[in-house]
């Protein structure tokens, strides 16, 4: 047996698994989007072509959910990147003695999103949430229920993003910290000798040198944020007044509660292809074959 055959043989089990449990379900999902399906198992289905897609695009709920998904993703990614970079620079500036603190900082990564969502709901809850109470005691708020984090439709989308930011800022920090360790010392020293101050150093040298690492971290986080489900479901269940219903929640609800799997599949298919297109474009831009050790 030649190497090529042997390699195929070794990859076969994993490939077969992904084909059966990812590709096949996805194909069925896309196929279902062309039918009107009764929510009861075994009930008749009717081929309707692109009618579900037309219905999806015409649906205000779908348009709003798409916008919310984009806004949510932007909130999460921008907040995480800003905080994550700041903390990574802090750790780098403090050197190896910050190691213990890096470990402590990492702990939210191990917490289930459901637990995080629940915890933050508890922290932000209107009448006995500790966040408002502490803000009140610090004289930032005039009364402990001044901000209705999760029940004010105007700010709920920001509030539900908090646990996501809390959970995974450490991830961005760790990745950027690892990147910062590889910045060549001579470049930084040379810039310092030329009189560059810290902001200049940051924007002209550090960030450009970190570009590939930053890009990968942002893509990974962006994709995960765009798929967020449990964290939002547990905090607001999409409310108040649908202000936190992102695509994942809308599709789930269309499928289970409103009992329209065909329409849900059409919405999900659009979502799927947009995600894949964005992700593949991003990979192509960053992942330049031959530019790294691989």
């Amino acid at each position: 047996m030649n190497d090529r055959r042997f390699a195929l043989l070794l990859m076969l089990p994993a490939a077969a698994f992904l084909a059966v449990f990812v590709l096949w379900p996805l194909a069925r999902f896309v196929y279902d989007s062309f039918f009107v399906i009764s929510p009861f198992a075994g009930a008749p289905r009717e081929f309707v072509g692109f009618a579900n897609y037309a219905a999806a695009f015409a649906s205000e709920a779908f348009q709003n959910a798409a916008v919310r998904t984009v806004v949510y993703t932007l909130i999460v990614v921008i907040a995480e990147f800003t905080l994550g970079l700041a903390v990574a620079l802090l750790f780098t500036a403090l050197g190896h003695r910050s190691a213990v603190f890096r470990t402590i900082f990492m702990y939210p990564l191990m917490i289930a999103p459901v637990v995080a969502g629940l915890l933050w709901r508890f922290l932000l809850i209107d009448n006995f949430g500790i966040v408002n109470e502490l803000l009140y005691r610090a004289h930032i708020l005039a009364s402990p229920d001044q901000i209705q984090w999760l029940s004010d439709p105007n700010i709920a989308l920001f509030a539900v993003a908090l646990p996501d930011i809390w959970l995974t800022t450490s991830f961005i920090t760790l990745v950027l910290f690892a990147g910062l360790q590889n910045i060549p010392g001579e470049v930084v020293e040379a810039a310092r000798i030329d009189g560059a101050r810290y902001p200049r150093l940051l924007f002209s040298i550090i960030i450009p040198l970190l570009r590939p690492v930053i890009a990968v971290a942002l893509i990974v986080r962006g994709i995960d944020a765009a798929r967020a489900f449990d964290i939002i479901l547990i905090q607001t269940d999409g409310g108040p007044q649908g202000s936190t219903t992102t695509l994942s929640l809308l599709i789930y609800r269309t499928m289970t509660r409103f009992g329209d799997p065909g329409l849900a599949s059409a919405m999900g298919t659009v979502y799927l292809f947009v995600m894949l297109a964005v992700a593949i474009a991003a990979i192509m831009l960053i992942w330049r074959p031959g530019s790294t050790a691989r």
Partner: protein
């Protein structure tokens, strides 16, 4: 020493800044732990207090003795273990083939695996309900573990490929000269070198299953339900029992956090590797 390291007086300011950040960052979970030791009434007192007035294990006793809770904890462990084993068994040979033989099919496969990570969970989850039904795996830990493996397998392949990449090809060559078959070279020579990497991959596969919610919600109902689903159902089923909920959340989170502290070096390696490579 890193060129961006600071010396002198500004160090003190930075340490203070770091301390403040860590306190803010650590507070939510500390508050959860403290609440879990309050009496159920104190847990929802208005205005809320940080420190328990009276320490009690009441919430733990009531949460853990609730119908379905012990079973859910066992289900979580069972599902995560099955999914981890499955993920490693499938990922190790695939990753080895991708890094050792560098065939075009290998390159296509690793990118395809990466793309799998970008699929919305709901798009796989909904049809999986049907597939599990036809396989007779509805509401079983094994069925859920299969679903969880769709998440952990792509990541496992990427991680293992990175670890294999770090092992020089000469090692396999030497093994073959010594009379090992290609499979024996993998099993007896290369795999023992990457046990650290294997551990990292196992931790990530375990955590992916341990924390997963949507598949568990769609694919289980009574017998195979995992803890995240039970935690999510707490409020509706038992009224507003924040004390019990914080206790169960603590039971579910503290062991993995402690495990992580012990294994933090490996986990950081995995996180940064997984991210930088994809």
């Amino acid at each position: 020493m890193n060129p961006l390291e600071t010396r002198g007086k500004s160090r003190l300011i930075l340490w203070v800044l770091l301390a403040v950040t860590l306190i803010l960052y650590g507070f939510p979970f500390v508050y959860l732990l403290l609440t879990s030791f309050k009496t159920p009434l104190d847990a929802i007192a208005v205005p809320p207090t940080v420190w328990p007035e009276q320490w009690t294990l009441e919430n733990y006793v009531s949460a853990l003795s609730r119908e379905g809770v012990p079973a859910a904890l066992i289900n979580s462990v069972t599902t995560a273990v099955i999914s981890t084993v499955l993920s490693l068994v499938l990922a190790v040979p695939a990753a080895y083939a991708i890094t050792r033989f560098r065939t075009p099919s290998g390159r296509v496969f690793i990118i395809a695996a990466l793309v799998t990570r970008m699929v919305p969970t709901i798009a796989v989850g909904a049809p999986l309900v049907e597939i599990m039904r036809s396989l007779g795996l509805t509401d079983t830990s094994f069925g859920l573990a299969l679903a969880h493996t769709t998440i952990s397998l792509p990541l496992s392949i990427w991680l293992m490929a990175s670890f294999f990449e770090a092992v020089p090809d000469e090692l396999d060559e030497a093994a073959k000269v010594d009379g090992c078959s290609r499979l024996q070279a993998l099993w007896r020579v290369v795999l023992p070198v990457v046990t650290g990497g294997l551990a990292v991959t196992a931790i990530f596969a375990f955590l992916a299953s341990w924390n997963e919610f949507l598949f568990a919600l769609l694919l289980t109902s009574v017998r195979a339900q995992t803890t995240p689903v039970v935690i999510a159902n707490f409020q509706t089923q038992f009224g507003l029992d924040w004390g019990g909920m914080t206790a169960l959340a603590a039971v579910y989170s503290v062991p993995v956090i402690i495990l992580t502290l012990f294994l933090q070096r490996q986990i950081v390696a995995g996180l940064t590797l997984g991210a930088v490579k994809g």
